[in-house]
């Protein structure tokens, strides 16, 4: 396959990964929470999208207007119910890992109970069409998913850069104590950031539902990939997550083409190992003291 084709495929998928990873890295940046349940929440949104499509033939892209607010609300509730209890703890980081790992198991169990372990997929018309530009082909579903992801990333950037809430989120990411001192209500900002990260997970779930088939245990595969993306970019750096996602998706496309799809997943972890050997803090991460 020619290089331009590989680059296009890599960028299309990469922008979806970037959107997924930016939500996860946002949570880490604001709250120092490594949300191991992030991909499980993405799957919840995939199943909601599936239900809406099967029962109401609602287009999965349109279903974002339902999944995003729904997941935002779920995020705020989960944050307010679970996190204030462990916030002051000396073992906060360890507890968040266990807590979110537990959440992932609960979500997987519930999804298996309700939807069984069967593979599902959402198949609107554009799943089987593609656009040809010269000798480059662009699968329609990937193009749409990529465009939506790109728009959401711009939305996130505008939110963080130009709104008062966004400024408060960035301040909290840089120095939670200092943010509190200048009058940021850090609990409210954390709840909002958790909700925003979850809303992005909701969007990701709707988009992934028509890109890949899914089943309740699929989230382990996704979270492994997402974690490698945000570690590569530097934990808590949204810019890093986006660039890391694009790079790795392109690398994965090249490896798939050269060595076959079996080798695609290993690209992520191999690149991660190599980069961390040289830059332990990731591409754009600050050196962390946890």
């Amino acid at each position: 396959m020619n290089w331009v084709q590989l680059l296009v495929l890599g960028l299309l998928l990469g922008s979806v990964y970037a959107m997924m990873a930016s939500g996860l890295t946002l949570l880490f940046g604001v709250m120092r929470v490594v949300n191991l349940a992030h991909a499980a929440f993405i799957l919840i949104a995939s199943y909601i999208t599936y239900l809406l499509f099967e029962n109401l033939t609602l287009d999965p892209i349109v279903s974002l207007v339902i999944t995003m607010p729904l997941m935002f609300g779920l995020g705020v509730i989960i944050y307010l119910v679970l996190f204030p209890r462990i916030e002051g703890s000396a073992r906060y980081v360890e507890m968040t890992v266990l807590l979110t790992f537990g959440l992932a198991l609960v979500v997987e169990g519930l999804l298996t109970f309700v939807f069984t372990g069967t593979f599902r997929s959402v198949r609107p018309d554009y799943v089987s069409t593609s656009i040809h530009v010269g000798d480059i082909f662009i699968p329609s579903n990937q193009l749409y998913a990529s465009a939506v992801s790109f728009a959401l990333l711009i939305g996130l950037w505008v939110l963080l850069r130009f709104t008062k809430t966004g400024t408060a989120i960035r301040a909290t990411m840089q120095n939670r104590g200092a943010a509190q001192i200048v009058g940021v209500n850090v609990r409210r900002i954390s709840a909002f950031a958790f909700g925003t990260g979850m809303a992005l997970a909701g969007a990701a779930g709707s988009l992934l539902s028509f890109l890949f088939p899914f089943f309740p245990g699929k989230h382990w595969q996704w979270i492994a990939l997402l974690l490698s993306l945000i570690v590569l970019g530097g934990m808590g750096s949204i810019k890093g997550a986006v660039i890391g996602a694009l790079l790795l998706a392109i690398a994965s496309a090249v490896v798939t083409d050269t060595f076959g799809p079996t080798w695609s997943p290993i690209t992520f972890y191999l690149t991660l190992f190599l980069i961390l050997l040289v830059r332990p803090q990731g591409l754009f991460g600050a050196k962390l003291r946890l």
Binding site: I181, V182, A286
Partner: protein, 245 residues
């Protein structure tokens, strides 16, 4: 009526023991104060409790006669109590200007924010020269200036400053104390916590001596400095190296 009243306040961290075992003190408008005492006396804990970062387990914090117990830090700040913590708590990858603007986070009015920013740059001319530099790249003294300048953005009634001279060279520390002295002319009541008891007491009107979580003594700052009994009992360890010189 006193501006800020602390009555029998008990506080501690997490499930840990009481650090403050019942502190009572009162802060009048326009007077400056320094809280001194040995390590672990609860000086910083007291400021953090007043600032709302720590909830008092018992007792009362009153501002202008209103009970403030359980207020969040942002509510205390909005009420006019500003806290400057000891670690020069800045936003390292934001510029000096952005850090100062963050100090006015609670101000809704843009014009007011710009006026205050001008005022801060007048008070701290050194910061005006560095306004486009990232705060993380400044020296310790300059970072302390930014946190002090940032506290002026909300025109607070009381500024509580925790260990402003920590980790600074003596000459730089003197400059910081001089700036803090200037706060009084702006009509701000200063409450200082200082490990360097002599420096701290020299720059204020009134001193509190804190030990083992409660107030042991209070009086005019120069009186405390002159009292050999207090010096020996509570300030002895800190004064020794200086006197030997």
């Amino acid at each position: 009526m006193a501006l800020l009243e602390i009555e029998d306040v008990v506080a501690g961290y997490g499930a840990g023991p009481d650090i403050l075992t019942g502190v009572t003190l009162s802060i009048d408008e326009g007077t400056s104060y320094c809280i001194v005492g040995p390590n672990g006396a609860g000086k910083s804990t007291l400021l953090r409790t007043i600032a709302g970062i720590l909830k008092p387990r018992a007792g009362e914090v009153r501002l202008d006669g209103t009970r403030m117990n359980g207020s969040r830090p942002d509510q205390m700040l909005a009420a006019g109590v500003c806290f400057v913590p000891q670690d020069a708590s800045l936003f390292p990858t934001m510029t000096v200007r952005e850090n100062l603007v963050m100090g006015g986070y609670l101000l809704g009015d843009r014009v007011l924010k710009r006026q205050r920013l001008e005022m801060v740059f007048e008070t701290f001319p050194a910061l005006a020269d560095r306004k486009s530099q990232n705060a993380g790249t400044l020296s310790g003294g300059e970072q302390q200036m930014v946190t002090l300048g940032r506290s002026l953005m909300v025109e607070p009634k009381v500024v509580m400053i925790d260990e402003p001279s920590l980790g600074l060279a003596p000459m730089i520390a003197d400059q910081i104390f001089e700036k803090i002295g200037g706060f009084r002319e702006l009509g701000i009541t200063v409450v200082l916590v200082e490990q360097n008891a002599v420096k701290g007491l020299e720059s204020v009107d009134w001193g509190f001596v804190l030990d083992l979580g409660s107030k042991e003594f209070e009086g005019p700052a120069d009186g405390i400095l002159a009292d050999p009994r207090i010096r020996e009992l509570y300030l002895g360890k800190q004064l020794a190296p200086r006197e030997r010189r």
